[in-house]
């Protein structure tokens, strides 16, 4: 784990999806150094989080490439420019300092950059938290979105919510240690590996796991951050209460714009208006590219994000080096470092 630190750089790139990664390349070609921040522990944005194995067919000159492979190739392409990555942390604040922008992350990392390229897609990826009243008070202690230590749940009464691999696999794994497990799901079918679904059914038949179907989460009961019961209801609204010490909620990842809404960038319905010629936002020195950048007839495609990365890098050069005229050169003339 990296510890919080203070850094200064030319360009801070928020978001390590395809657009953000290619921005590192375009900046690098203009001799601008980048730091890249992402909320996820791995680079690649949607390509990594949502569809790593799917083939993509509309990347120019790559007739078919899987999303994971596309990211691996981008990583290789930007390696010569030695970007510094700060992963597993969300940028929570963006503030104007004297002649730079300061970004602060959820881990306390501070980065001062002359220009910022916001390649934040639909926002920071994080756990899909059920919208239950007062849930914040329980999070970390009695409400969990991932399991890092199985022993923590020994002899505890657990409610596991969700119908995917995580919910099913953890229900099976924790059945050995927990005092009681209720699995709450809205329908009979689990979208999990067939062997896992079969194992879950076995454990349920043996009485080791209680299936609470068809129910969804409705509320939490407890006191001072200590959970005592999880309320569930059917789709028709019939309610029931399950005594529990912990709720493990596995509803996958969602992206949230969150703090980006408050950065004075005129965010609206999840996107930020830009001038398509420069990708400049309403804040001088802050550029937006990729899915988050909006202008008339915008296409949310990876290839659009790549082109926007080039526009933003050239415009950022003027911000970082206002005194230095940019002499346009092709990569065939300049080459890349180390080649």
């Amino acid at each position: 784990m990296t510890t919080a630190g203070k850094f200064t750089t030319d360009v801070a790139v928020i978001g390590a999806g395809p657009a953000g990664l290619f921005a590192v390349f375009e900046c690098g070609m203009l001799k601008l150094h980048c730091h890249v921040i992402d909320a996820l522990p791995a680079i690649g944005g949607q390509c990594t989080a949502l569809y790593p194995e799917k083939p993509i067919y509309d990347i120019p000159a790559a007739p078919e490439v899987s999303a994971a492979e596309l990211i691996a190739r981008l990583q290789a392409q930007i390696a010569p420019f030695a970007p510094r990555f700060h992963l597993n942390q969300q940028v929570v604040a963006l503030q104007r300092r004297e002649d730079a922008w300061e970004l602060v992350t959820s881990r306390g990392t501070s980065i001062q950059a002359r220009a910022v390229i916001l390649a934040a897609g639909a926002g920071a990826f994080g756990p899909n938290r059920p919208p239950l009243a007062g849930i914040e008070a329980y999070e970390g202690r009695c409400v969990h979105y991932l399991v890092s230590d199985r022993e923590r749940f020994r002899s505890q009464r657990l409610v596991i919510a969700g119908g995917g691999d995580s919910a099913v696999d953890w229900a099976i794994a924790l059945a050995e240690v927990a005092a009681e497990i209720h699995v709450v799901h809205r329908r009979d079918r689990f979208r999990a590996a067939p062997e896992s679904a079969a194992r879950l059914a076995q454990l349920a038949a043996a009485g080791k796991i209680q299936l609470v179907i068809p129910y969804q989460l409705a509320g939490l009961e407890g006191d001072g951050g200590r959970l005592s019961a999880v309320l569930v209801k059917t789709l028709e609204g019939e309610q029931r209460s399950i005594a529990a010490d912990h709720l493990l909620a596995f509803f996958g990842l969602v992206s949230k714009l969150g703090p980006i809404n408050d950065w004075g960038l005129e965010a609206r319905n999840g996107v930020i208006p830009v001038d398509p010629a420069t990708c400049a936002t309403a804040a001088p020195g802050v550029f937006a590219i990729g899915d988050i950048a909006a202008y008339p007839r915008k296409l949310k495609l990876i290839l659009t994000g790549f082109a926007e990365a080039a526009h933003a890098a050239h415009a950022a050069h003027e911000i970082v080096h206002p005194d230095r005229a940019l002499h346009f050169e092709y990569s065939t003339s300049t080459g890349v470092p180390g080649q």
């Binding site: 949607q46 949502l50 919208p131 979208r191 989460l217 509803f251 996958g252 609206r268 899915d291």
Partner: protein, 104 residues
Amino acid sequence: MPVIHVTTTEGKEIDLSADNGRSIMEAVKANDLPMLAACGGALACATCHVVVDPDWYERLQPPSEDEEDLLDTAHGLTPTSRLACQILMSDDLDGIRVTLTPMD
């Protein structure tokens, strides 16, 4: 052009028209109504979750298994919950009523 009657989470009613073949999600986004639709219709999230009027729900093609899988990750489900990106407009659906769900 078929019309979609949309009710927002605040109870505001808005009529949209949509070309045949376009999804309700696309029509909602084109009219700048509050809906995230984060994945842009790639069937990779549930942020275009809408509640369809029960009379209209019956007339829709049933949801695919992929749509059901994503509905598993939506909150505040009802018996007539659907993903708006999966409902394609046609003359048969002229006048359909849907209610949006909270963006957060």
